[in-house]
Amino acid sequence: MTDEPAFDFIRDSLDHCVKCTICETACPVANATPLFPGPKYVGPQAERFRTPGSSDDGSLDYCSGCGICSQACPQGVHVAEINSRARATMKQQRRMPLRDHLLSRPSVEGRLATPVAPLANFVLSNRIFRVLAERTLGIHRSAPLPTFAGRTFQRWARRHRPAAAEREVVYFHGCSANYFQPELAEMTVAVLEHNGFRVLVPPQDCCGLPLQSNGIFDTARSYVRRLVGNLAPYARAGNQIVATSTSCGLMLKREAREILGIEDDDLRVVSEQTYDICEFLADLDAAGQLRTDFRAVPMTVTYHAPCQQQGHGIGKPALDLLALIPELKVIELDRACCGIAGTYGIKREKYDIAMKVGQGLFDDITSSAADLSVCDSETCRWQITHATGRPSVHPVEVLHRAYGL
């Protein structure tokens, strides 16, 4: 059984391309390096020269998968999605570096490293190890890597005893909040409980996104199928599912279908019920159901909407939420991408490109008077902190603080 849909609407969308070149002017990677021939070239143009199982342009690997081309295209060409699929084909044809396998399995690493977190963190931040890792694995020595928390959110959630509540919501926390930043997940639970929800945390593993962006589609498919299998009963029962990882939420909302080509009922019902956390809270607010007992937070923060967040097509609900907080001054940054694009900027050959892509954003942040930079996506927060030296938090962390929880 293959997962390729019979009627391939992603590939067929290349028919809409009129070669206007808007995607090329919007592409942050093509603007940063000549190594990437640009989204029009590798997307609708090169796709005409590809047959199933063959993809002849190695330069396509320089696409970061940020998805800005698809957003910018006035004709509706699914440029980034075409590229992702072609990359998967290419990786199947060539031998894939061990690195890409390693970077693609955060939940495996999380399970292994959590019990030995201090050691793992020491190794990951050790200069000698990092130089070795660069030479042997191709992970850039300076690239921002997360630290293991040494505990998991899942474990916390199992022991957590919530107060009685009338409404329920399902929380899809993703690997990052589970292994690297459980406090974000706990704050999310607190914010939701504060608003009268009982938060259900079904068992969950990786959504397969890093596998997908590294072109390992088969394994990615089995991960996402397993995940939607766990979430589907809740979705069928009418529960909404919220996600604090924008890119993993996007995987459930549309990439599993559009890039991995999965067509099944579990995925359909889960994707219909999945919301980004800020989208969910802003909707509550619009319905007059969000508690607004915020304390004043007399700070200045910058806000960067990551490209993956923009891929949701929901505007910037974080801005609406932050605007509810008294005395908080928010500077909206009008930059497309920080460069990291998941695991892209971690790779030796792409680190410099990623840093260059994000340079404008970093400059905006460092030249601002902000105390904190707010951003929805974890890998972008790591990259921003790495490049600017300034702390970066998820919007929920600011809400949590404003609620005084």
Binding site: D8, H16, E47, R48, F49, T51, D56
Partner: protein
């Protein structure tokens, strides 16, 4: 000698055969018509050691050969109706795969029983294949859909045969290169205006080329003018009934299938979808026309093609279509039925001595693209008879230039090749990945002032934007590389746009219409091409 001829010879790295200053050439064999047949005849004759001249009124392969469907038949199409043609096809299919692999993509072919087909035909088809020696294998519907996911899921049977696709321009030019390597003179843009008679003998022809008229005297003249063969024969005072059978085809913007897909049924209209280069082509029709140079394409015919495509690949109608074009089959008919599909697709060599009492004049007609080599062999065998010698044909064994290594071309090779020059070379035609270097080389090789001639060599302007983004770039480079005046360069630009527009406008809709508006905005809005300076007489021509 004209620049056109010199260039075709120098392409092979050989000195150009010198023409006579007095506008005369003498040779053993004069071949009229530069399609697949004529090019094949010229190669064969030159390889047998005859001094050979080929004349073509326009560029090579601009007759039916450059306007065909792209199919290297396995013969499957004819097994029930015309086993003789089927046998010729499979024989030549095997030979061409050996000697012309650089011109062939080994797509394979499928014959599928669609909901509108007689389910019983498949059994007759299998029997026919076995009888004519065509390898055939039935596969399950699920397997067929796995191989070609866009196929109509309601097909009931699927049969695999060794169909392939073939690049006509590449094949003809390979024959030309080979022929010139063997000493032949090839003269594109030389039109036969009269046939020289010497009593009961044909002794050559008068041709008009860019440099004026040329008298070519030959020991034997081979008329390979395809659908125009009747007109040439008439010039020699002979009657040949070649009925032009028009067929139209529509190309989609990208490949919908990667295998040649045929309806498993008696040959009918719109029953084959051919993946050739970057596009899929649905075709074709068959209507008798009076004049091979003047026939219309109706909206109804186009609509029939789209419906036929929909039957093979649901969603075809929504797919972007690039253009429509047509060609005229040379259907040889001595005496017989008037329906063109009933005329045999096998070929015939006519020796006009026996038929009309005219000596040293042969007509080779009928046949198909994929049987061009065999047609050439038969024609040159007959010419040997006329010349009273016997020299063996070697074209079945000696590969064409660049072929002979069993390396069929792949659709992805241009993309792979582009990787090597990604950073140092400009892309001129983005759709078909034509590099600046390739364009400059083609301009130099052809010495051509026509972008359309370059198009056939490189596929310039044949992709989605149909020249919208490459025409002005290519014109600039043409102007720089040749000694064209500004007015002549402008004319080249306008002619190319005009030629592209011809195939576009009859079916403009949907995505292609949007593209046309953008292109129009570029050429009219930004470049104001309507008011480009042209010489007075030029303006009248465009």
């Amino acid at each position: 000698m004209t620049s056109a001829a010199i260039s075709s010879a120098s392409a092979a790295g050989q000195p150009a055969p010198a023409g006579r200053a007095d506008g005369r050439i003498d040779c053993d064999v004069l071949v009229i018509g530069g399609g697949s047949t004529g090019a094949g005849v010229a190669r064969d004759a030159a390889m047998r050691g005859f001094s050979t001249v080929l004349v073509e009124r326009a560029d090579m392969a601009t007759g039916t050969t450059g306007r065909f469907h792209g199919l290297l038949h396995s013969g499957g199409r004819y097994v029930v109706k015309d086993p003789k043609a089927a046998q010729e096809c499979i024989g030549e299919n095997i030979i061409l795969r050996r000697i012309a692999d650089d011109c062939i993509e080994d797509t394979g072919g499928l014959f599928v029983t669609t909901p509108i087909d007689d389910p019983g035909y498949a059994d007759r088809f299998i029997q026919g294949c076995k009888a004519t020696g065509i390898e055939v294998q039935e596969i399950g519907v699920a397997e067929a859909l796995r191989r070609e996911p866009r196929l109509n899921p309601r097909i009931s049977r699927a049969l695999v045969v060794p169909d392939a696709t073939v690049d006509a321009w590449k094949m003809v030019w390979s024959c030309v290169r080979s022929a010139t390597q063997y000493g032949a003179t090839v003269l594109p843009y030389h039109e036969v205006i009269s046939v020289i008679r010497d009593g009961s003998r044909v002794a050559g022809a008068v041709v008009r080329g860019p440099g004026g008229e040329l008298r070519i005297r030959a020991e034997v003249v081979i008329n390979a003018a395809g659908a125009w063969a009747g007109k040439i024969a008439a010039m020699a005072g002979c009657e040949v009934k070649v009925r032009p059978g028009k067929g139209i085809m529509v190309a989609t913007n990208h490949r919908l299938v990667n295998t040649v897909v045929n309806r498993c049924e008696m040959p009918a209209d719109g029953d084959i979808l051919v993946p050739i280069r970057t596009v899929s082509v649905i075709g074709t029709t068959d209507t008798l026309v009076d004049d091979p140079d003047d026939w219309p394409i109706s909206r109804q015919e186009i609509d029939e093609m789209l419906t036929a495509g929909e039957n093979l690949v649901p969603g075809f109608r929504e797919s972007r279509t690039l253009r429509v074009w047509g060609g005229v089959r040379p259907l040889f008919q001595d005496e017989g039925p008037a329906e063109t599909r009933d005329v045999t697709r096998a070929h015939a060599v006519l020796d006009h001595r026996a038929r009309d009492g005219v000596e040293a004049f042969l007509t080779i007609t009928g046949g198909k693209f994929c049987t061009y080599r065999l047609m050439a062999q038969d024609a040159v065998d007959a010419a040997c008879g006329v010349l009273g010698t016997s020299r063996p044909c070697r074209t079945a064994d000696e590969p064409l230039p660049d072929s002979g290594e069993q390396k069929f071309y792949r659709i992805g090779s241009r993309l792979a090749g582009r990787e090597r020059t990604l950073h140092d070379e400009q892309l001129i035609c983005e759709c078909e990945l034509v590099r600046r270097g390739a364009l400059e080389e083609a301009i130099a090789r052809r010495g051509a002032a026509s972008l359309d001639d370059i198009r056939r060599a490189l596929r310039l302007g044949m992709g989605p934007c149909q020249g919208g983004f490459c025409t002005y770039r290519a014109t600039g480079i043409l102007h720089q590389a040749t000694n064209l005046s500004a007015a002549e360069a402008n004319r080249a630009l306008l002619e190319f746009l005009q030629e592209r527009w011809k195939g576009l406008h009859p079916l403009l809709h949907g995505d292609q219409l949007r593209q046309a508006w953008l292109d129009d905005w570029i050429f009219q809005g930004v470049l104001d091409v309507e008011h480009l300076p042209l010489a007075e007489q030029e303006r009248a021509r465009v």
